[in-house]
């Protein structure tokens, strides 16, 4: 309680009898101090561990390749999230479609992708050249004349493969998030828009989606925070992300522990910023929350 509030109370209760004493919580202090001591001890123990070379950490914390890795991680997460969200919207619309074939495809996609571990998907994408070694655009009439062609390994670099895998995975999860958002909007809203003569496009963009956003944005925000951490998995195909760069350095100086600490520090920073952004967003949504009272 603020001091102003306290003194206001004192004045208001000046003449009152049988005043109730403030409740005391002696054990709260004891347990609080104990818990804090354990945490500090644990942190110091980790940081002061002789196996950890602080010089290495400081030296490489802002090394150029680490910074490139951080940048790549952010770029990966953002692009995969954007593609995943667009893909997720398509999946959601398919799953809510009246067309049974589209519905089945949407359902199958989500079921399939959700049951394949992301790591496996990343390995698949990293080895696309084993499926198709080349991509050629051939004259469809004689099948001989090649108009343009690429080697798969040039076309789908590890970085592109990483984006593909993360986006394909994200589309399945965002599909579910967006679907439940769209379904949360009252059927009467669609009917009112339709009755006004708004076409399906305007009905979606001006009436349904803006309301669905309230339901979609909070989980989409945490999907993004998760995405930042999941990018680390692409290090298995040398996707160029933060962990890839940290491991490259560790492979030469054998300071694995130190470079993991460096990577963790950066992940902490980036996800921290994203989390703060997300909670600002959620607060805004809550403040702007407006419901029809019927």
């Amino acid at each position: 309680m603020t001091n102003a509030l306290l003194s206001q109370r004192q004045t208001a209760l000046a003449g009152a009898t049988d005043r109730v004493a403030a409740k005391r919580h002696p054990w709260r202090i004891v347990f609080g101090l104990l818990a804090a001591a354990v945490v500090v001890w644990g942190a110091l123990n980790l940081w002061l561990n002789p196996a950890l070379d602080h010089g290495t950490i400081l030296k490489y914390l802002t090394a150029e390749s680490i910074l490139t890795g951080v940048k790549n991680t952010i770029v990966l997460a953002v692009i995969a999230m954007v593609i995943g969200t667009v893909g997720g919207y398509l999946v959601a619309v398919m799953r809510l479609s009246h067309n049974p074939v589209l519905r089945a495809i949407g359902f199958g996609y989500v079921a399939l992708i959700r049951s394949i571990p992301l790591l496996v998907l990343i390995l698949f994408m990293g080895n696309l050249a084993l499926f198709w070694s080349r991509v050629d655009i051939v004259n469809p009439f004689n099948h001989a004349e090649v108009w343009a062609g690429w080697d798969m390994n040039d076309l789908v670099t590890p970085f592109i493969a990483s984006i593909l895998a993360l986006a394909i995975n994200e589309a399945a999860y965002m599909g579910e998030v967006i679907r439940s958002g769209l379904r949360s909007v009252d059927q009467g809203q669609r009917e009112a828009a339709t009755a006004l003569g708004l076409g399906s496009r305007h009905t979606m963009s001006k009436v349904i989606l803006p309301q669905a956003m309230r339901v979609i944005l909070p989980p989409a925000g945490s999907q993004f925070v998760t995405m930042i951490k999941m990018t680390s998995l692409v290090s298995v195909i040398a996707g160029g992300d933060l962990l890839t760069e940290a491991q490259n350095i560790a492979a030469t100086n054998l300071r694995t522990l130190e470079l993991l600490v460096i990577a963790s520090a950066w992940y902490l920073l980036v996800t921290g910023i994203a989390t703060i952004g997300q909670s600002i967003l959620e607060h805004r949504l809550e403040r702007g929350q407006r419901r029809v009272s019927i």
Partner: protein
Amino acid sequence: MAPTTLLDISEVHKFYASHHVLKGVSLQVPEGTVACLLGPSGSGKSTLLRCINHLESIDAGRITMDGTTLAYEERNGQMHQRPRTTVDRQRQDIGMVFQHFNLFPHYTVLQNITLAPSLLKKTSKAKATVRALELLEKVGLADKRNAYPSSLSGGQQQRVAIARALAMEPKVMLFDEPTSALDPELVGEVLKVMKDLAAGGMTMIVVTHEMSFAREVADSVVVMDAGIIIESGTPAEIFDNPQQERTRDFLRHVR
């Protein structure tokens, strides 16, 4: 000279799966008149209204407005659904007011009213706003233009919903139990707006349980039961001298 028929509903049939909900309903609504639709719950009143602006498809029959068949066109002796864009254009001429208002909660009162005209009519935003303010004046809510629907009473919300429908300058207004979700003390303000509208010459079809409104405002009263129109006539004919036993039965129950 009798006014021309604006809306002509002819032998309309509607099924929900195997449930025959409308069994050949025919109804003519002359321009500038008010038809009140009465009938017990489940008799198909809402379904009939929703078929007019094609919120529901029909299985047989036709509905024409100003001589144009709504939502369907005849080809090779069969009725085929028109393209969605055509149906949407036809819907612009049909205003609808719902029992639960269905205002857009993320828009202000003014935005609710200007949304459709500014998107669909080639009028400027400024003109749409001027027109919206006129309509708000008409329904007595000019001071609420910047409020959000959630801060309004049910009666106020329904009046905004009426203004929203009117903003598209429809030729006919459909009301599906517009006062049934309202607290009794709020019913009057909505009925007053509807009376003014009728007096101004709007063609209206009103599903309602407000018998005094029907008696006072309706040009014709139509009684439905189990998917057919069992009786129709002037308010005096229906209320004072009903011919059908089921009409008498229904009127006894609502009184």
